[in-house]
């Protein structure tokens, strides 16, 4: 760039640096906000990993069955030729079945790999030029996440479809959760237990007691139905193994055999209440989120809390709070009630008229009555009205020459 010789050097340097620093800070903001997208990449990856593991397990199992069954046949002495042929033919068709299954499995794996890649590409596509559109998509992703976590599946699917972001949200992952949740709401534990078995090693690693809670509930249901003998057999089989780690709870539940379901003793009465099932649903949701590397709270709540804390000032609660501030609305104020106020180290002044920031470029001017507006706003007003300005809040009329500049650091 050529610098005009008439311009003092310092000035041109200053404009160049400010021009460059604005986008760089914005890019920095963008990079920081991308770091918040852990879940966005983690969930499809965990899903992908899970299918790979499951497929591999099937292969290992089938293969060792085939091999051991060949070994067994070889060791037998009484096998006729027909039997041997029949046996081997069976094994071949079994292996062919496995092949077909694997082909399907790897199709699903490829789709999941594609999804992982689509998300990486989406993050890469975020640039300063398309940021507002990208941010819109992010809000929609966050909303779909909220819908899924609160089990508003229809809305989730509709929103994802109409925004064309199916690859960027985890509807299929939550589909798995839906089955379990629906069953728990119908007071069935079988799908939940199957889910626990499927994810046994991971649940064990995180020391989850979800399965134990399910077993306790089944036991309670047997007691409720007065099937005492069956309840005892059940407890021996399914509750006893948890004795080492959860003895207290185990004892408490066993005591219900003595108290029955119509007990008034508060300690045991609560075990028979229907909200125990709601608790199981909540517990399942938490385990499910943990397993997939999701935050336990909906993303919407996390971002909303952060945003409201950052925006919350004592001025938001005044009557003349501008409508543009979300905290001017009762609903947002209610949510922000228990959140901390933000803090400022430096003055930030907004012109009442233009809503623009007042800084060295657009310094604040003081009217004789102490009201402050931006130079831009007052200059324009004076130009239109032969050099006089009117205070929009008090109606005071004065001359532009009566205004004084305020220095605010």
């Amino acid at each position: 760039m050529e610098v005009e010789p008439s311009l003092p050097n310092g000035d041109s340097a200053a404009t160049v640096t400010t021009a460059a620093s604005v986008p760089s800070s914005r890019m920095n903001n963008l990079a920081e906000s991308l770091k918040l997208e852990h879940q966005f990449l983690k969930v499809p990856f965990e899903h992908f990993k899970k299918s790979m593991r499951a497929n591999h397990r099937i292969v290992e199992k089938e293969m060792s069955t085939v091999i051991s069954s060949v070994a067994e046949a070889a060791n037998r002495d009484d096998m006729s030729k027909e039997e041997a042929v029949h046996h081997l033919t069976n094994l071949v068709s079994r292996l062919q079945g496995l092949k077909r299954k694997l082909e399907e499995g790897s199709k699903a794996e490829n789709l999941q790999a594609q999804r992982c890649r689509a998300r990486l590409n989406h993050l890469e596509a975020a640039e300063a030029e398309n940021l507002s559109e990208w941010n819109n998509t992010r809000l929609r992703r966050i909303l779909v996440d909220y819908m899924l976590r609160l089990s508003y599946y229809d809305t989730a699917v509709k929103l994802a479809d109409c925004s064309n972001i199916q690859d960027l949200v985890d509807i299929d992952v939550f589909h798995e959760a839906k089955k379990v949740i629906d069953a728990l709401q119908n007071r069935e534990v079988a799908p939940a237990l199957a889910w626990c078995a499927d994810n046994k090693s991971k649940l064990k690693k995180s020391k989850s007691k979800f399965e134990f809670q399910l077993r306790l509930q089944e036991f309670i249901e047997l007691v409720r139905a007065d099937n005492h003998l069956q309840a005892i057999t059940y407890a021996r089989k399914y509750l006893a193994p948890w004795g080492a780690t959860h003895m207290k709870e185990l004892q408490r539940v066993m005591a219900t055999l003595a108290f029955k379901s119509n007990t008034e003793c508060p300690k045991y009465k609560v075990l028979f209440e229907s909200k125990q099932w709601d608790y199981l649903v909540e517990l399942f949701k938490q385990e499910f989120c943990r397993l997939y590397g999701m935050t336990l709270e909906p993303l919407l709540s996390i971002f909303l809390q952060a945003g409201l804390s950052a925006l919350k000032t004592p001025f938001c609660f005044e009557e003349d709070c501008t409508k543009e501030d979300p905290l001017s609305q009762e609903s947002f104020r209610k949510l922000a009630m228990q959140l901390p106020f933000s803090k400022q180290h430096h003055s930030k002044l907004v012109c009442y008229i233009t809503k623009e920031l007042m800084d060295t470029e657009n310094p604040p001017l003081v009217l004789p009555n102490g009201y402050v507006y931006s130079t831009k706003a007052l200059e324009e007003m004076a130009k239109k009205n032969d050099g006089t300005v009117t205070c929009p809040r008090t109606g005071l009329v004065c001359n532009y020459s009566e205004l004084v500049k305020a220095f605010i650091s």
Binding site: K35, V59, A84
Partner: protein
């Protein structure tokens, strides 16, 4: 963070996955081949072997092949790639963004109301209906009606029909004027230009007399310009005023109408949910760092009344004037307002009282050599 490194790591995962699955197929094929060969031998009457020795031979071959062990190698490589990618994700991204979350009663009902309103104001009416049905918030439907009207007006404008917009603007004339908006005039101007372009000159003149004339006292220059357009009726595109035909006026006016419509509803021009979430995205990185520091110092995150450090948001989130005294670092308030000294520097009242030893003597401005007395200082209103 280097997204390209992460992508490379993922490509490696995908490659190993493909390798491993083709290896699996290969091994299964091998076993099938061996068994089929054994079957062929059994059916071959010329061979002097009985079924028992064929089976033993097959068993030996399979054991020699060690199919399960064959798979192990590719699985191991896949596992290495998987755990590398997982580690890279944990390192490059913030693995737990809920660390700054406060465990308060974050009322779902209130959030649902906000979301319903957000859908309706974006014109996503079906979605909003579906949502309030599923979320069991039927009363949120009251937020739909006003936005239905707004989108009807906007839709009509989309097909170049200004009538609903004009009706609305004239019904809300006083409020619009109070907002300092000349939306009504702009709508009439657009209509006038349409007539001028597609209708007759006399129609245009008649329209101007009826609808534009009342604006003359306040917008004389604008009206004069529009009247001059009458000279080019039907061929405005070759006139000095061809700019008036630009479709951008329609877009801009739709935006302005949305803004004014929302304003009269007592709503912001942008969806408050999207503003709050954007602020959250900007603020959260700072809050997470802060939560980490506080956790290390064993300070309580859940109970503090004010954040200990500023969270810098973009200027689009600056809705209020906040004065911070440069001397005491206190935030200005009603009890402790900002005061202007004669030199033009501003401090808060308490700082001035302190500097003047409880208003008993003159003091020097901390930022310049000028002296001042308390009586000379003036309270400021931002």
């Amino acid at each position: 963070m280097e997204l390209s490194t992460i992508k490379d790591a993922f490509d490696r995962v995908a490659k190993k996955q493909r390798l491993s699955s083709s290896k699996t197929q290969e091994v299964i094929d091998q076993i099938i081949r061996e068994i089929e060969q054994a079957l062929v031998k059994m059916h071959d009457p010329t061979l002097p072997m009985d079924q028992k020795s064929i089976l033993t031979e097959l068993n030996n071959k399979l054991n020699e092949m060690g199919p399960v062990n064959q798979l192990e190698g590719s699985q191991k490589e896949l596992n290495v790639a998987l755990s590398k990618y997982a580690k890279l994700l944990d390192k490059s991204f913030n693995p737990d963004i809920s660390k700054a979350y406060r465990n308060i009663d974050f009322d779902i009902h209130t959030i649902n109301q906000i979301i319903a309103c957000h859908f309706y104001r974006l014109g996503l009416f079906d979605l909003g209906d579906c949502f309030i049905y599923e979320a069991k918030e039927p009363e949120a439907i009251t937020q739909k009606t006003p936005f239905l009207e707004m989108y009807k007006i906007l839709e009509a404008m989309g097909s170049r029909n200004l009538e609903p917009a004009l009706n609305w603007a004239s019904a809300n004339r006083d409020c619009l004027i109070q907002n300092g908006s000349s939306l009504e005039l702009k709508l009439h101007r657009l209509q006038f230009v349409e007539i001028l372009q597609n209708g007759s000159r006399s129609d245009a003149l008649k329209y101007a007399r009826t609808y534009l004339a009342p604006f003359a006292p306040l917008h004389l220059a604008e009206i004069q310009k529009l009247m001059a357009c009458l000279l080019w009726a039907g061929r405005l595109n070759s006139s000095p005023y061809s700019e008036l035909l630009s479709p951008i006026h329609w877009e801009k006016l739709s935006e302005e109408l949305t803004e004014q419509f929302c304003s009269l509803l007592g709503q912001s021009s942008e969806s408050p949910l999207s503003v709050a979430i954007s602020a959250g995205v900007q603020g959260l990185p700072t809050l997470l760092k802060l939560a980490n520091v506080m956790a290390a110092k064993k300070q309580d995150w859940q109970a503090m009344k004010q954040l200990p450090v500023p969270v810098d948001l973009g200027r689009e989130f600056q809705f209020h004037s906040i004065f911070v005294c440069p001397v005491s670092r206190d935030q200005g308030s009603e009890e402790n307002p900002p005061m202007l000294m004669p030199c033009g520097h501003v401090l808060c009242k308490q700082s001035i009282v302190k500097l003047s030893k409880s208003s008993t003597r003159t003091f020097k401005c901390p930022y310049c050599p000028l002296e001042a007395t308390v009586a000379q200082c003036r309270q400021l209103h931002f």
